[in-house]
Symmetry: C2
Subunit: 553 residues, 2 copies
């Protein structure tokens, strides 16, 4: 693992569960789940900093992401979630500054990206899973703490004369509220830009009635009424859900991959790492056993059901690549197995999208593919005989920066589309990957989805579904050269290029967060005014004041 901090290497475990949470308490009361932040100061990822005042590092956010996931899968009876804190007069002080100060640039960027994805997972659950989120801010709420609140459907703030919401990054740290803060304030909550400007430059934040008037929170209540009002509102929010009123969920068991120095092997996903070439190969295998054919059988199969299992594993592999393998610049995407088995699963998922668990599985697949879109590595899909780039697995090829398909008349090699390519797995820009690919020809996605049967290499190339279709004489050289020359390019230029080419078409709040806000934050994160010897992030918490080079760009 890359050194997260300049002085120490943390060991991050992606594998957690409520009984092992160190920073959150997850409790259930009928349709209401309560997720309470109670960060343990001494349980940071490295001993370099203390997680005071419910400030957080990536370890805290992994637990939050896990909790949101488990509420969706394990507790279908949970219809509303209250996010609050167990600390007196403190909701959350935001990302831990000393962690940020001590981190490498790459760690800061990946930390911010993951926390953004977690916030978006909350909004995804609200929009698609019938789970509403109420932020119950029982005390001071600063920076990333307020960004977490912004991800909730509603924000209640205690009116105790002291508790305020704030985005103090600009005045105190010389950086941005980069976990969606600025975007959510003006785009989601539609706070007036001049008021947002004042809010984001006032370190102490805004409290009480003014916070409501400016649209920063939805309501404030005195301490004496706060808990009751939160409980009442949570019940109202829960009452609107379309989730099952009762019935058991499924358990997300640990993935337990086999890990060696150069590989991570799961049940349906395999990751091979070649650090010398700076290339990894990520292979997804189609289902090999019979798959459930009714929703009840899916519930019974639980997390052994292939699409859930394969995409959870894929998600885990992507996170490992991001955090543990910074030198792997190019990822070759492969699939292996029977395309018909994948298409049969797709058919099942499409037929039962209104079942709560099927719905959750499809949205998890969608979020995993978004995670891939947002991973700052080059992806090349290789479509070879024996592969199964069909339906939902063909999304991997569509998500790739390029795809190469072997055209050899002597060996069967096809791709297929399914209804899963037509809507359920939309990108952050709100379009399907087919729509994004064929912006110039908006009718083509429907035509291609109506195509009967698989496409061979010639047909796929003609249809524009793959980038190149070399024959067997050219294949080895062409693919090898493409990968080698990719791995030789400037990694920064590639990151910027891919961030621009992958998201053609409309922008959404989500793409604005990653495309605009994060890009500016990344820029600021390497400017001396933030991270130089006398920068604001460096000076924070010390006796010295930051010294700025006041030149504007």
């Amino acid at each position: 693992m890359e050194a997260a901090t300049k002085s120490a290497v943390p060991v991050v475990s992606f594998d957690t569960s409520p009984d092992r949470y160190r920073h959150w308490k997850l409790t259930f009361d009928g349709p209401i789940a309560t997720l309470s932040m109670d960060v343990q100061e001494d349980a940071a990822l490295t001993p370099d900093y203390k997680l005071k005042l419910n400030s957080y590092d990536l370890g805290v956010d992994f637990e939050l992401a896990d909790a949101v996931q488990r509420i969706r899968f394990e507790h279908p009876e949970a219809h509303a979630v209250v996010i609050t804190s167990l600390k007196e007069r403190v909701f959350c002080a935001g990302a831990n500054i000393f962690m940020l100060r001590g981190s490498t640039h790459a760690w800061k960027v990946n930390f911010c990206k993951f926390t953004n994805e977690t916030r978006l997972a909350i909004e995804d659950a609200s929009q698609h899973s019938g789970i509403k989120f109420l932020a119950a801010l029982n005390g001071i709420t600063a920076g990333g703490g307020y960004e977490l609140a912004l991800a909730c459907d509603e924000i209640f703030l205690v009116d105790d004369g002291n508790s305020a919401v704030s985005l103090p990054e600009t005045p105190l740290l010389g950086v941005l509220p980069g976990t969606g803060g600025l975007t959510r304030v003006v785009d989601k909550r539609k706070v007036r830009r001049d008021l947002a400007d004042v809010f984001a430059t006032v370190a102490e934040g805004i409290k009480g009635k003014r916070a409501v008037e400016w649209g920063l929170v939805d309501a404030v209540y005195p301490t004496s009424q706060f808990k009751q009002r939160v409980a009442e509102r949570a019940r109202e929010l829960a009452s609107r859900s379309d989730r099952p009123a009762s019935g058991r969920g499924i358990t997300l068991t640990p993935l337990k991959p086999k890990v060696t120095d150069s590989s991570v092997t799961y049940s349906a996903v395999d990751l091979q790492i070649d650090r010398d070439k700076r290339v990894a190969t990520l292979t997804v295998t189609a289902p090999e056993d019979p798959q459930p054919s009714t929703p009840d059988a899916i519930v019974a199969a639980g997390d052994r059901y292939w699409p859930l299992r394969a995409f959870r594993e894929l998600d885990d592999a992507l996170l490992r690549l991001r955090l543990n393998e910074p030198l792997i610049g190019t990822i070759v995407l492969k699939t292996h197995g029977d395309p018909e088995a994948v298409l049969a699963v797709d058919e099942m998922l499409l037929a039962h999208q209104d079942h709560w668990l099927v719905r959750e599985i499809v949205h998890l697949m969608k979020r995993t593919l978004k995670r891939l879109d947002l991973t700052a590595r080059s992806f090349f899909a290789l479509i070879e005989p024996g592969s199964c780039f069909a339906g939902s697995l063909f999304e991997l090829a569509l998500a790739a920066d390029r795809s190469y398909m072997l055209d050899n008349p002597d060996q069967e090699n096809t791709i297929s589309l399914s209804g899963m390519n037509g809507g359920p797995l939309r990108m952050s820009n709100g379009l399907t990957r087919l729509e994004t690919r064929f912006l110039a020809d908006p009718k083509r996605p429907a035509d291609l989805l109506a195509h009967d049967g698989p496409f061979d290499a010639e047909e796929a190339l003609e249809a524009g579904l793959v980038s190149f279709a070399p024959d067997e004489l050219d294949w080895d050289d062409e693919v090898r050269l493409a990968i080698e020359s990719r791995a030789a390019l400037s990694p920064d230029a590639l990151t910027g290029m891919e961030a621009n080419l992958r998201f053609a078409g409309p922008e959404t709040m989500e793409t604005k967060i990653f495309g605009r806000l994060s890009a500016w934050q990344n820029w600021i994160f390497i400017r001396p005014n933030a991270v130089g010897d006398k920068g604001a992030l460096t000076a924070y918490g010390s006796q010295s004041r930051p010294e700025f080079d006041f030149k504007r760009t």
Copy 2:
């Protein structure tokens, strides 16, 4: 002026005209204007680099911007523009690499911003002024040269076995095609993202039939046919224009401001610079003399007509602030004069929007206000007795990050809206500034535009049209403190914050270029892989190969 290059200080003249162009020839033949690039190698802004192969620096782009402006105002009979080159087998090699390599970060960023604005001005003329642009690529077209072509409505490329279009920034320089290149390829021309990925990583580019198939150009013709095909197509494009078939244009005469060490004074605009406080005051004065009341009288008044004069001066002042005053972080916007005089001009402009010159004036006002939106400085509008924040000048207050309006019952102090706030002066995001301000309340802009007469401070505050309305007891302290505390914040954090708060709502190709592409480019521009001792931009043209830190973020 800030040192543009690390070793020398260029003297940039904003004031140019066709008879003084060093790098372009502008000729007219009936409805066709031809703008031919013929860059003089030895006429760079500094002697540090040679402008070989029609490569360009800011001086070249100033002339291009001037030429596009003059075609619009001085040649209403010009209905199509052919952009080509007088150099054999070379259209344009793009931005000069040695200039980029030697420039400060701020200069690179401002250079890219201005060139982007110039490309957008071409598209604005196409969309709104009935002038179509045909890029006639008579030779190699690389980087910024292709970005210029992308700004045109159509692109013809000579098919001579050698001439190609290319975006070689990523493979050769480790930076991005940042003058809109990546965005225009996938969003404007809707080139498939995997093909765009290949195109932007192949240094030699794409030529001939493949360039047409991929959508990179509209047509290729052999050398023997090229000129004739270009001429034919230009005539076809010209035939669709709604501009006058004949009739004289107006002349844009030099602005000739009075410049001292701390001020720039024009006829209707005054800029006072306080470098110690890092604050400038920019004041726009309302018309003082009677203004023309018919389109013919406007043509006769020419560039003496107040809105054209005032907004040209404002534009010039903004460019001077960007390039010459990097330390001025906060700009106080003021107005002075009779609001009724401004509203009378607005009425005239609105009544005659279908007149070619009035149309041009309104679009110039629009572009100038966009220039302000995109200027990386904090703007505070101060609305005081004697000011004239009415109609089109109230856009200054709406464009500001904040506005302060004195509320003193003893002194008349009002603001007013006009139809100019309701559509003609849209921001880059496609919305009016009122719509952007009131995203949370989409009906309010229409209600406010229907308001009869001016708003006093209390009404303006209540309507949400100003940020604050201190009374005379608080005014001095509140305004002084606001400006002082703004000037003390990290300039980088402010730049990033403002770039995110100013453009709420939808994103367009234009906002994607400035918000996403430029932000990534800025980040890459300070990464060691580009500008470090062994970075690609540093190594270019030398014997040494770049050495990369291959860590991905």
